[in-house]
């Protein structure tokens, strides 16, 4: 299986132009700066994704109350959709050429920070604890189905765009 996220890590830095050998930093320094750049990309993307998730949940609670975790469901489905599109558009067969660092920024940073598995788990537990076992079960099944449907739909859409 091709892991689109981890494999982009090992490719990071290959797109960069190396200076002439007499001013080139030692390989160890080069590796250090490549890694630092990857972490900064992930950190910046994480801020964007997490803040978006927070604002979405504030908005959803103010609109629909907190009886059902609509906000978390929304971010997880839309985040899966976005990563599906982006991964296919910028993948080996994709029509967009981006650097490994840009992929880290969008996929690991933004999409990873925007979606959350822990909040989903806690919300399911809280529904069970408050005696709403049936709602918890519905939340679980609907989440699993719509996450995968989201990423599949994004991938299918990008595959069509790639063929244009």
């Amino acid at each position: 299986m091709q892991d689109h996220i981890s494999s982009s890590l090992s490719a990071s830095g290959q797109t960069e132009k190396h200076p002439p050998s007499h001013v080139r930093r030692s390989p160890r320094w080069q590796t250090f700066w490549d890694r630092t750049g990857s972490y900064i990309s992930v950190a910046l993307g994480s801020i964007v994704g997490a803040v978006a998730r927070f604002l979405v949940s504030v908005l959803f609670v103010s609109q629909f109350g907190d009886g059902f975790p609509w906000g978390t469901l929304f971010v997880n489905v839309t985040g899966s959709f976005v990563i599906g599109i982006y991964a296919a558009l910028t993948g080996p067969d994709g029509r967009l050429f981006v650097s490994a660092r840009q992929r880290l920024f969008v996929m690991v940073g933004i999409c990873g920070g925007y979606t959350t598995f822990s909040a989903f788990s806690l919300e399911t537990l809280r529904l069970v604890q408050s005696g709403r076992v049936q709602t918890a079960f519905v939340y679980l099944v609907v989440s699993a189905v719509t996450w995968i449907a989201g990423v599949w739909l994004g991938h299918a859409l990008a595959a069509r765009l790639n063929r244009l």
């Binding site: 299986m1 091709q2 892991d3 689109h4 996220i5 981890s6 494999s7 890590l9 990857s38 972490y39 992930v42 950190a43 993307g45 994480s46 801020i47 994704g49 997490a50 803040v51 998730r53 927070f54 604002l55 949940s57 504030v58 997880n76 985040g79 899966s80 976005v82 990563i83 599906g84 991964a87 880290l104 996929m107 690991v108 940073g109 999409c111 990873g112 920070g113 925007y114 979606t115 959350t116 598995f117 822990s118 909040a119 989903f120 788990s121 806690l122 399911t124 537990l125 809280r126 679980l140 699993a144 996450w147 995968i148 989201g150 990423v151 599949w152 991938h155």
Partner: protein, 130 residues
């Protein structure tokens, strides 16, 4: 104004959570190989366990019952540390490779282990804090 303050705490926590996920999932993937998304699963299960502990603290009027610590640690750090998008993408990749049993196994294992972990974290937290 209150929301802006919350955004700052969430943003601070997200830097820690996002980089921790990147490091740990990469570390696990390099150690055990990438034929199965173990890295994402380790991150999600451990994050669910830790959030269970924080929820126990909040339920027993501990430090995480306050809004700012919750926004920083629960929504910021752990919310960003765990991820659904990578899980979905990796499950789809397994399914597209014809690895249907692995794709289904990843779904069932991730969902059930995370629910067990958050329940275990909550119970352990209540036991220690209560």
């Amino acid at each position: 104004m209150d929301t802006i303050n919350g955004v700052m705490w969430v943003a601070l926590g997200s830097v820690l959570g996002g980089t921790a996920r990147f490091w740990l999932s990469g570390f696990v993937a390099r150690r055990v190989g990438e034929t199965f998304p173990w890295g994402t699963m380790v991150v999600n299960v451990s994050g669910a366990f830790l959030l269970g502990i924080l929820a126990a603290s909040a339920a027993s009027h501990g430090i995480f019952a306050a809004v700012r610590p919750w926004q920083f640690a629960a929504i910021g750090i752990l919310g960003t540390y765990t991820t659904v998008s990578s899980f979905s993408l990796q499950t789809l990749a397994l399914a597209r490779d014809g690895e249907m049993i692995r794709a289904a196994g990843n779904m069932v294992a991730s969902l059930s282990l995370c629910l067990v972990a958050v329940t275990g974290g909550f119970t352990a937290g209540l036991y220690v804090l209560g």
